[in-house]
């Protein structure tokens, strides 16, 4: 009887998780692609981030206790990206933003804050707590990144061209 209950619990859990993935994967993948600054149709790093964060959510599905699973997945995604961006900052050219990406002009941390604050609509205090930064700093970075996105500096074009020439 215990075994039966376990099986039915497992089936319900699989159903719930399936519904969650169907609803959340698209939005989370879009956020991840914005974070990694990859093209929408070629985003291996964003897919990897998404797979890892959803697997993490799956593993702690039974211990959520009423917490929003989407929130949990987003939190894990953001912290994982923050850690990865710290380690491979500017490294090996594979982290270089794709020209098609809307946030390609920003640094990884700026992308993270803009995506959390504006795309996902996370409150300033929550984003600051998640990243371990003071709230004022989050606000400053967000405003600076917004200004840079809306009024791109003119010197950006030659810098990008120079970076492209360098590896050859």
């Amino acid at each position: 009887m215990v075994r039966e209950r376990q099986v039915s619990q497992g089936a319900r859990r699989a159903r719930e998780f399936d519904a969650f993935v169907a609803g959340a994967a698209g939005r989370l993948l879009h956020a991840a692609t914005l974070l990694t600054a990859e093209a929408p149709d070629d985003n291996p790093r964003a897919r990897r981030l998404l797979t890892l964060s959803l697997a993490h959510t799956y593993a702690c599905w039974d211990r959520l206790r009423g917490e929003d699973p989407y929130d949990r997945a987003r939190q894990y995604l953001a912290s994982r990206f923050a850690r990865g961006a710290w380690h491979q900052y500017g490294g090996l050219g594979r982290a270089r933003p794709h020209p098609d990406s809307p946030l390609g002009a920003l640094a990884p941390q700026e992308r993270l804050i803009v995506v959390l604050r504006l795309y996902e609509g996370v409150a300033e205090e929550q984003a600051a707590a998640l990243l371990g930064l003071p709230t004022e700093r989050v606000r400053t970075i967000c405003e600076r990144a917004t200004a840079r996105l809306l009024h791109p500096p003119r010197s950006a074009a030659p810098k990008v061209a120079g970076a492209k020439v360098a590896p050859s």
Binding site: D18, G26, H30, P40, H56, A59, L103, V114, E143
Partner: protein, 82 residues
């Protein structure tokens, strides 16, 4: 342009074309997540096993050695011949 307008403009920039979710994603996630769960369960079991083994070993040692009994004195000679 005030702050809400700027934020709305950035939101519009970001909306763009949403990427396609790969069809194998769900299976991949469940495989990885299941592996994480299994690994955690194994680690937890191993910890309990270790704890039980430690408790048993301590009990057996305590029953054999009786560490709460005061050991006989080794410096004072036994008091005899009163």
């Amino acid at each position: 342009m005030n702050r809400p307008e700027r934020e709305a403009a950035v939101r519009r920039i970001m909306e763009g074309t949403p990427p396609q979710v790969p069809p194998e994603l769900y299976a991949d996630v469940v495989r990885r997540g299941g592996r994480m769960l299994r690994r955690r369960r194994t680690a937890r079991r191993l910890m309990w096993l270790l704890l039980c083994a430690a408790v048993v070993a301590f009990t057996v040692w305590a029953l054999m050695v009786h560490p709460w009994v005061e050991p006989p004195s080794e410096t004072t000679p036994p008091l005899t011949g009163w």
